[in-house]
């Protein structure tokens, strides 16, 4: 009876996880997706606790308590601008769990053959994602310098380190009893994670986070292989696929090749703002700007991370209300890399209570710029720079941009919202 429930709970959990992702497709059903995910998780955990192999509960429940006591404040106190940091941190936790379970399983049972191969991959991905995510967290939290740290021969050192780890890993698969090699293997993986992320600059963080998400998912999936658990295989594969797709989206949005990113060897190309547009630049007072905005029928706002840094979301919301009340159509154009992780800008604007049907993706809104009276660029830079379209010498050449220059008037607001209105007239 109990073993039937244990089996059924795992299958049901897998179904619920898949439904959770399906419902996540649109804002109308997304919260149902969260409930499905939670239910699936609860079933799986209860099912596992009832498993006949699990006899000692004391430490498990203490860990539940400690984990919940840390997790709840992490979820509720984190400001929305810091969501990328929290995400990086949770990738680190997830990957650490996978690596430690693999390590424990190795010393406990010393598996052979296929299981050992899965375990080695699990531990490799787990440890490198753990330190890599911690580095990403440090950069996002500005504990570490955001600029890329590069030195001569970096790629060669990184690749030989990875090769050494892989070779030891293969040796361990063939000779699992060589226990003295396991700590060396783990250490190399940990070190590689650090070296993988330090050459990557802050501008690339959205891609890195998505990539680490994928690695963490794959680590969980390989844990499923190592522990003969289908539910882990499925959940990990779903997470890995999600991270993979998001990093492809991010790559495309920044015009990077995917192979480049897969191995993290893309830190060298640092996107720098090449502004210096030789156009008549006219400064405008806020009053003048207000007049232009009011006279328009259609305004497209282009928010960038500068908006979030200046905590200006709520000011934008006031502007949005004001203009909407006067019959002006206000739309928001969101570049895929706006913010510091995929979709970050949408969350920030939603937090400021801007309805999501006013938010548009790049491909949907670009054709509308010629129809707009005003394009209002707030704290965004590269994503609107026509150099990406015209200037092959520009470091961001080829990157898809928002065509603000096709609107009748372009207004740019740089950081510190109040005095600094500078209008670039078209």
């Amino acid at each position: 009876m109990i073993s039937a429930f244990v089996a059924a709970s795992g299958i049901l959990a897998a179904v619920l996880f898949i439904l959770a992702l399906k419902w996540m497709s649109g804002p109308a059903t997304a919260r149902r997706g969260v409930v499905a995910g939670e239910t699936g998780m609860l079933l799986a955990v209860v099912g596992t606790l009832l498993h006949h192999d699990v006899v000692d509960y004391q430490w498990i429940f203490i860990a539940f308590l400690v984990g919940s006591a840390t997790g709840v404040p992490l979820a509720y106190l984190m400001p929305m601008t810091a969501v990328p940091q929290r995400t990086a941190l949770s990738h680190a936790f997830g990957a650490l769990a996978a690596a430690l379970i693999g390590t424990a399983e190795y010393y406990q049972h010393t598996p052979h053959g296929f299981t050992m191969a899965a375990l080695v991959i699990e531990v490799l991905l787990g440890y490198l994602t753990f330190t890599g995510s911690l580095m990403a967290f440090g950069k996002l939290q500005e504990l570490l310098p955001g600029r890329p740290m590069v030195y001569r021969g970096q790629n060669i050192i990184n690749l030989s380190l990875l090769a050494a780890a892989v070779l030891i890993g293969i040796y361990l698969v063939v000779h699992p009893e060589a226990q003295e090699l396991f700590p060396i293997f783990s250490g190399l993986a940990l070190l590689f994670g650090v070296l993988l992320i330090i050459p990557i600059g802050g501008a690339d963080m959205p891609t890195v986070i998505a990539l680490l998400n994928s690695y963490a998912g794959l680590a969980a999936s390989f844990m499923g292989f190592a522990l003969n658990n289908y539910l882990l295989v499925i959940a990990g594969a779903l997470d890995g696929a999600s991270g993979f797709i998001l990093s492809v989206v991010m790559c495309r949005a920044m015009n990077r090749s995917f192979t480049n990113v897969l191995f993290g060897a893309f830190g060298q190309v640092q996107v720098k703002a090449a502004v210096a547009e030789q156009r008549p630049v006219r400064s405008a007072t806020p009053e003048e700007a207000a007049q232009v905005l009011e006279a328009g029928k259609r305004v497209i706002v282009v928010p960038g991370y500068g908006l979030a840094v200046a905590q200006a979301q709520h000011k934008i919301r006031e502007l949005y209300d004001l203009l909407t009340r006067r019959g002006v159509l206000v739309q928001f154009a969101i570049h895929p890399v706006a913010g510091r992780m995929p979709g970050h800008m949408n969350v920030l604007l939603a937090e400021a209570d801007i309805p999501y049907d006013a938010l548009f993706e790049m491909d949907d809104i670009n054709s509308e710029f010629p129809l707009a009276d005003v394009a209002l660029v707030i704290g965004a830079n590269d994503v609107t720079n026509p150099a990406a379209r015209n200037d092959p010498g520009s470091p961001i050449y080829g990157m898809p941009i928002l065509d603000v220059d096709r609107a009748r008037v372009v207004m740019v607001i740089k950081r510190s919202l109040s005095p600094g209105f500078a209008g670039i007239d078209n």
Binding site: I18, L21, K22, M24, S25, P27, V34, G37, G40, M41, V45, L49, H51, V54, V55, W59, I60, A63, F64, G67, G71, L74, A75, M80, V83, T87, S90, F93, G94, L96, A97, I101, T103, A104, Y107, N213, A220, M223, G224, F225, L227, N229, V233, A235, L238, D239, A241, S242, G243, L246, G339, M341, P342, G343, N346, V347, E351, P355, Y356, D357
Partner: protein, 98 residues
Amino acid sequence: MPFSELGVYVFLLAAFLGLELIRRVSPLLHTPLMSLTNAISAISVVGAILITGAKDATTLSRVLGFIAVTAATINVVSGYLITDRMLKMFRKGDRAKQ
């Protein structure tokens, strides 16, 4: 069929299903999506429980398992809660209702 073989089938099917499902997710929700999948993959808590609670667990297994259960629980709890917190903020505008 042994687990290893069947497991590879399961992995491939789940990965393709995942790719198809995620492709359909609106970019609007990419941030909550990432925190949701992160919470889902914290299902590794199941593996951690099996290791920590096993009858024959060594002290090393118990210590590592304990840390793993804690780390995974943090992800489960904070992942679902923050996803819901974010999703609650998304609301439809009045214009769409007209």
